[in-house]
Amino acid sequence: MAHTSATTVSPGRSVWDGGVSPMGASYGKLMMWFFLLSDAFTFSALLITYGLVRSAHDAYTGTVEAFTFSPEYWPIPEKVFEAVPFLHGIELPLVFVGIMTFILIMSSVTMVLAVEAGHRMDKKAVEKWMLWTLLGGITFLACQAWEWTHFIVGTDTPTLVKDFVNGAWVTKEVTGATLSINQYGPSDFAGFFFFITGFHGFHVFSGVMFNFLIYYNTFTGVYERRGHYEMVEKVGLYWHFVDLVWVFVFTFFYLV
């Protein structure tokens, strides 16, 4: 560890009286941990609200094979997310989301390797692994852009949805999704898709920005002159958290 804090406490004083780090971590690292804790609450609120609204709606009761989109019940996610780029018309449930999950896990691994290289003061290795991490993050964002586009544009066959227009209920054909109406299921389904994956995607975007900053500072030798690479660790914590959230989003939005 780059930081070594005094662990000796003078007689009659406790470790919490100042002058030592009772938690054995620097101020910046501690604050990153507590920020992530608060961010975990925010994401939990989103996912739990999803759970509440989903359990308040009727569930689909028929067989998976006979499933069709309808605003009457909550859709089965594997029937909604089944498209893969360049393979139009082929039903590949959750394959693309699986690829995205894999990309994000890999970019978490390269981040932790950058942290390891930082501990060894290996500037070249930190640069290399930060570039791989950046590539992973940018690829994930590109995948998400495609997924959103597909979700918004919709499938080839429209769904009949009742909509309240100018004071009267009308039944109309709907393809794709907006925040108010969608072809996949109840209105809230698309709302949650946009909010949950969007909020996560924004975290990935910020993470890519931070990672670039770390790469830039490593490249220009800022951390080498400083004598330690603790900033890589702090931003690494944030990046792993983004991966962690995706693990939960993957389970609760796409699998369950």
Partner: protein, 108 residues
């Protein structure tokens, strides 16, 4: 050309054992995700399937937080400062999903 103002930096060799361990964790995460896929398409929908998914997700989360984020090796007081507040999330989950199931019984 010498840079006299540049600090002397000793680059240590890679810690092979540590790196191997990180890749092992990555492998475990990958295998668990693949297993989740397998279960998603072989098991009928129901509460057992959901329970298995939740369990596997928690195992994956433990590996990410414990190994990648290094929390397992931090001071115990830091570990518990992060883990204990999680009970609020558990409570929120139980309370809200329970309320959600009651929603359909209420006639607004």
């Amino acid at each position: 050309m010498s840079h006299s103002q540049e600090p002397q930096v000793t680059v240590l060799p890679p810690d092979k054992e540590k790196i191997k361990k990180l890749w092992t964790v990555a492998g475990i995460l990958g295998v668990l995700t693949a297993l989740e896929f397998l279960i998603a398409f072989t098991m009928p929908h129901g509460s057992l399937k959901t329970a298995i998914f939740v369990g596997m997700t928690i195992v994956k989360a433990a590996y990410i937080v414990g190994e990648f984020m290094h929390l397992r090796y931090e001071a115990k007081v830091l570990l518990w400062s992060i883990l204990i507040p999680m009970v609020f999330i558990v409570w929120m989950l139980v309370a809200f999903v329970y309320e959600g199931m009651k929603f359909s019984e209420i006639n607004f």
